[in-house]
């Protein structure tokens, strides 16, 4: 079987990103919570791989630890979206053209109507900025995304003959949804999941950038960008490296999701082969 190049690149990027984060749990080149003013604003060198920031902290170590925050927030937010969104979407599709369908989809529209950042600011204004509140804010907005994608895809599967034959075999809506609908839309949900995951990383970076994500001294990519912007004229590497890391992580995840869909679908396998 021929594996598409884009998928390989996505795998490598996502893998590097993951390894970097896991390693940071056990070992990092330099302490990130200790200030070392003597070593501040150093350029990339053998000792400091990507240089140091204005407090003398190692940028590479901070990026490694920042990955923990990004992954945790984005992963839990996607999980929240899937856990609530997929069953809601399946329910809406199974009870299509009934009050339930309307109720579910219109409440989703209601959530969609608010810009996510505004609600995130509202949540943090009420409960205070923290990683958990960032997760809640991003997670809530994943629910209608998954509900919509699930419902749309499920509706098209519901019209097929094999669903009718399952109904004739006496299977109920719940069973058909789990046995027949879900496996057939799974590839779509995986792609959507990887997109939402990368969007989650972006959203977390955004919230941290405006100071509503995790709080100092825990490093996060978004706040590294925010901190660096006053020094961008004389220490561009401070902004450059977190920016590149975010781009590569998001790109890698997107490519991974896209490739995974092609590989998971038995019908598409003939074409790849």
């Amino acid at each position: 079987m021929k594996i598409p190049l884009a998928f390989i690149i996505g795998c490598i990027l996502s893998f590097l990103f993951l390894v970097m984060t896991i390693v940071s749990l056990f070992w990092i080149p330099h302490e990130v919570e200790k200030l070392n003013i003597l070593e501040r604003l150093k350029g990339p060198s053998y000792q400091y791989f990507l240089g140091t920031d204005h407090f003398g902290r190692d940028i590479f170590s901070m990026l490694m630890v920042g990955g923990q925050t990004s992954i945790t927030v984005a992963l839990i937010a996607v999980a929240v979206g899937m856990i609530f969104g997929i069953p809601l979407g399946l329910l809406a599709a199974a009870s299509r053209q009934s009050i339930w369908d309307d109720l579910i989809m219109r409440s989703n529209d209601l959530i969609f109507a608010f810009p996510s950042l505004v609600i995130a600011i509202l949540i943090t204004a009420v409960f205070g900025p923290s990683a958990i509140n960032a997760i809640i804010a991003i997670g809530i907005f994943n629910v209608p995304v998954f509900a919509r994608v699930t419902r749309g895809a499920a509706l098209s599967i519901w019209t097929l003959d094999f669903i009718l034959s399952a109904r004739i075999a006496g299977k109920g809506s719940l069973r058909i949804s789990v046995e027949h609908i879900l496996p057939n839309i799974l590839s779509l949900l995986i792609v959507q999941g990887s997109i939402q995951f990368s969007l989650g990383i972006l959203a977390e970076a955004g919230l941290s950038y405006v100071g509503l994500g995790v709080q100092p001294p825990t490093p996060s990519w978004g706040r590294m960008l925010a901190d660096s912007q006053t020094m961008i004229s004389f220490a561009p590497n401070l902004a450059l490296f977190p920016g590149i890391t975010i781009i590569l992580a998001v790109l890698g995840l997107n490519l991974l999701g896209d490739g995974a869909r092609d590989l998971l679908d038995p019908r598409l396998q003939d074409k790849i082969r």
Binding site: Q97, D102, D161, I168, A169, P183
Partner: protein
């Protein structure tokens, strides 16, 4: 001189031989039929003539249009031929028409491109041509879009488009395949008229030999990229020099060796049911529109009987099937299957459900592509939960697969690895697996090629004998239904217009609609088939 002559034309795409030494001649004013089963290269021949092949295809041999060798033409030169000298009519009229442009402007298009007409003149000619192909007056004005007219009318528009620039040759690729029989008759007559009155030549590509027997002067029979037989229509049909032609003609006139004998015991009785679709039950729908689909339909099926249901698209056949299967509600009347009432709005116990199974038309949509054959075929066991052990179920899947002519190894494969005919066999295995009394065949053979169709019908007849099954055989094709059924009912617009034995309906139809239907079926003259 021939309008078109193809000599020793071969085509290879990606090292696969698509066409091999094809020779074909079309004389002026002649209808030449090109027949064959799916994948035989009929459509590729049409595309080769117009040089619309993918760039990586390899061609050898020559194609002449009049005296110019168009197979040597560049794409630019071909553009002057296409649509002007040679035009093509496609099978799927809705897909071949641009939904955003009016039918008149689409018909006028070839004139604007090839004939230097002004827009006004072109529209005038287009309107005249649309009138010529039999579109009713109220559709002749300027802003009619393709979705506003019926399938048969769309096909007429396509014919008008192919014909408007007065080409020398029209290639029609399955022009009537997606149409109802009565509509098909009209379209064929139109094509014949155009050929007669305007002297154009027609290359008619179809899988339906009966259609060709009625209108073609010459026929060529294709099999896997080769023309196996070519000649005057009557000669080809009478003499059947090649084995393949013989096989095809036998399948057309197929009838199972032994018909089943119905016993007197009533199995299913559908009594005066009416059914409708409601457009939307949504909270925000302004108005609920109701479409009456079934109107006081009554039918009975006895044990070991094969009941045919015939009707054109929109006659309510599929709704009837769904209603009997207990997945669609009905308003009044009753459906009784072996003393148990079937009603989709109430709970139907699995014992009753397990008495009937279904085989659908589309061999591609009837299976969950994510499951393996074993699981697909075993699905009806859900109805008899707990009765069988896992081993029993596996054994019975193996037996059922062997019974429909597949091997038990096939249980480990996915559905996309099988051909259309094999999938239909798997569907039959699934229907058989819990030994129902009644199998509903909803257009079960309509999507299959003639020779495969005959095999499946043979299989069905054999299984009916062995397992004492009753069939409800639903089809739009009266010629298939009459051969396999004990009794036939004819449906139109949700009502049963006629009921009787197959031969009664065919030889002396009573209702007007049935008369029209019987008359419209293309038939190969009986004397041609008897041979000699």
């Amino acid at each position: 001189m021939n309008v078109l002559s193809v000599s020793d034309f071969s085509l290879t795409i990606k090292n696969k031989n698509i066409l091999k030494d094809v020779c074909l001649n079309v004389a002026p004013g002649q209808i030449v039929g090109l027949a064959g089963e799916s994948g035989s290269g009929k459509s590729m021949t049409a595309l080769s003539i117009l040089n619309l092949l993918p760039s990586y295809s390899k061609r050898t041999g020559k194609i002449f249009f009049k005296d110019s060798c168009i197979s040597d033409f560049s794409d630019k030169e071909m553009c002057r031929i296409r649509g002007d000298k040679i035009s093509l009519i496609f099978q799927e009229p809705l897909a071949a028409l641009n939904p955003l442009k009016t039918i008149q402007s689409q018909v006028a298009e070839p004139l604007l491109i090839h004939k230097n007409y002004t827009k006004r003149e072109a529209n005038q000619v287009a309107a005249d041509t649309l009138h010529r192909v039999g579109l009713p007056k109220h559709l002749l004005h300027r802003d009619v879009y393709p979705h506003e007219i019926s399938g048969g009318q769309q096909q007429r528009v396509l014919i008008a488009k192919g014909f408007v620039a007065k080409p020398n040759l029209i290639i029609a690729d399955e022009p009537t395949t997606s149409l109802d029989v009565t509509t098909q008759a009209g379209i064929l007559k139109l094509l014949e008229d155009l050929v007669k009155s305007e002297g154009v030549s027609l290359l008619l590509i179809t899988h339906d030999l009966a259609v060709l027997s009625q209108c073609a002067h010459r026929v060529a029979i294709m099999k896997s990229g080769e023309i196996v037989e070519e000649g005057e229509t009557e000669e080809v049909f009478r003499q059947r020099k090649s084995q393949y032609t013989r096989k095809l003609l036998d399948s057309v006139n197929y009838s199972p060796a032994n018909k089943s004998n119905p016993s007197g015991k009533l199995l299913l009785s559908v009594d005066n049911i009416s059914s409708s679709y409601v457009s939307s039950e949504s909270l925000f729908a302004n108005k609920q529109a109701k479409f009456q689909v079934l109107n006081n339909v009554t039918l009975k099926i006895f044990e070991r009987e094969i009941l045919g249901v015939v009707g054109e698209s929109g006659s309510g056949k599929s709704t009837l099937v769904k209603t009997i299967l207990g997945v669609h509600k009905y308003e009044n009347g009753s459906i009784i299957l072996q003393n148990k009432k079937i009603d989709a709005s109430k709970y139907i116990d699995s014992e009753t459900r397990s008495l009937m199974q279904v085989v659908f038309q589309d061999p591609y949509g009837s299976f969950n592509p994510r499951h393996k054959i074993r699981r697909l075929v075993a699905e009806p066991f859900h109805l008899v939960k707990g009765v069988f052990t896992k081993k029993d179920i596996n054994d019975r899947v193996d037996i059922a697969l062997r019974e429909v002519g597949l091997s038990s190894d096939d249980a480990k494969r996915y559905i996309h690895e099988f051909s259309g005919g094999q999938r239909q066999r798997i569907a039959i295995a699934r229907a058989l697996i819990i030994k129902p009394k009644l199998i509903i065949l909803d257009e079960a053979v309509s999507a299959l090629d003639v020779s495969i169709k005959a095999q499946i019908l043979d299989l069905l007849a054999e299984l009916a004998q062995r397992h004492a099954l009753s069939y409800l055989f639903v089809s739009h094709d009266l010629s298939v239904v009459q051969n396999v059924s004990n009794r036939v009912i004819v449906m139109q617009k949700g009502t049963v217009v006629e009921e009787g034995t197959a031969s009664e309906i065919l030889s002396s139809p009573k209702a007007d609609y049935t008369k029209k239907l019987v008359k419209a079926i293309p038939k190969i003259p009986v004397s041609w088939l008897s041979g000699g």
